[in-house]
Symmetry: C2
Subunit: 268 residues, 2 copies
């Protein structure tokens, strides 16, 4: 079986000591700029290769410059390699231009862990995927929506017809195309692939660029649809946070995310 398009478009190959070559592909574009979760997945794949640990456990990216179609390089430095975890930093660069600086703790989440469990939240309740809203690139949606299967809860899709809900919330379903499994690297895409909460919030801005994104990974998702929910509670001082949760088809929390985004000053 050939790899899915996400695995292919995030592939890296060693090209020097701690250096990995890759390429930003047009498939994950939003208005000519590569999705931030996609870029993080490229960096994380190189970090996983370099540390020999398959899964990011907690990973943070600071966004330095937008990425677009080009060859890129990931420069990885392993900072500590312990029994259970390895910590590494990485720079994703296009030529001389740094796009992303990343810091992550990597491990192996395949085994799971049967320690004490206590969950005080539940997956978002939504209509089934077939009753949710698809954004179609052939109708003007960003190209990225043709490269994955993302369905918005109709309650949170009003912004698409100029009727934002007014709530700083986005919920929906996510999967990759052609039954490509979503692994922990795929989750890095999932947490940044949904329309920003600002689109529903009636904020006086068109876009909220990401300053920083942190993702905690709890488990490799089971196969099937993922449910995701994103919300914002604090828009202040020119910033907003966006908190995300992703749940797998068994109802298990697989990722938590938080990003800090800018509310551009030129707003209005």
């Amino acid at each position: 079986m050939s790899p899915g398009i996400f695995a292919r478009d995030t592939a890296v190959r060693p090209s020097g000591e701690g250096v990995y070559a890759s390429a930003i592909c047009r498939n994950w574009d939003i208005g000519g700029k590569a999705n931030g979760g996609y870029l993080l997945a490229i960096a994380a794949r190189a970090m996983a290769a370099e540390t020999g640990r398959p899964d990011p456990v907690t990973i943070t990216a600071h966004y330095l410059s937008p990425g677009s179609v080009s060859d890129v390089e990931v420069q990885v430095r392993t900072i500590r390699s312990g029994k259970r975890f390895a910590v590494a930093s990485a720079s994703l660069v296009a030529g001389d231009r740094p796009l992303l600086q990343v810091l992550g703790t990597f491990g192996d989440l395949s085994a799971g862990d049967d320690t004490f469990e206590r969950i005080e939240a539940a997956p978002p309740q939504m209509p089934p995927p077939e009753s949710c809203v698809v954004q179609d690139p052939s109708n003007g949606a960003p190209r990225i929506f043709g490269s994955m299967d993302l369905r918005l809860d109709p309650e949170d899709a009003g912004f698409l017809r100029g009727e934002p809900s007014g709530l700083m919330r986005t919920r929906g379903w996510f999967r990759l195309l052609h039954e490509e499994p979503v692994d922990t690297l795929g989750l890095l895409l999932a947490v940044d692939a949904f329309p920003p909460t600002a689109f529903n919030a009636r904020l006086p801005v068109a876009w909220t660029p990401t300053v920083e994104l942190t993702v905690h990974l709890r488990a490799r998702p089971a196969s099937g649809w993922l449910r995701a929910s994103f919300s914002t509670r604090f828009v202040s001082a020119g910033f907003l946070e966006e908190d995300g949760e992703v749940w797998d088809s068994t109802g298990r929390l697989v990722a938590q995310s938080r990003q800090l985004a800018l509310l551009p000053r030129a707003a209005g």
Copy 2:
């Protein structure tokens, strides 16, 4: 006026190109180990000096090894220096032993920002500080509680008398001693200075070591008491998150934090 003890205990001095010397002081000990927020503040002070930007805006630390009283060095690398923000990474090391790896975006939060504001949360409602619970080192509390003024909401202090509330929540008041102002570096201490939510949760563990801590800073606090609130919703797969909010005396959100902590496997 002499600097307060927090400023003194986190002081750094340049000792080479991008290198700063400092020392871990006993004042911020918890059972012989330095508090993680205190260590992060030392690293952040060096990063602020190196980048020439006074305030961390978003900063992430991965904890590699516990710190205790010793000379330390902060090795800072500026990754990008832009008009508004600078991004830097730093290693806090004691001799050859790395304690912390840090990645941060720094700027200047003094001006504030008068853009659009929307807040969908409020500071925790608590009894006044004089009716809250003090942990006294002369009665066996960790030494750190003698170096700052931290008052626990009585509802969340039951664990101190062996009666944990059962709720994964900690709320309280925070200030530095002798009216030392809390700046954005002081907030890095504040978000990690409260007893862990696990203490109230009746989890089968004694301690939850921090893997990673991310703090978003929105503003420099006004003078006076800070109110803080910490909660956990997901204990699973051997991990838990702890989400924090810190509000200043004017009712403004000044910091948001999230840490990923380990639920030790040997629990029981």
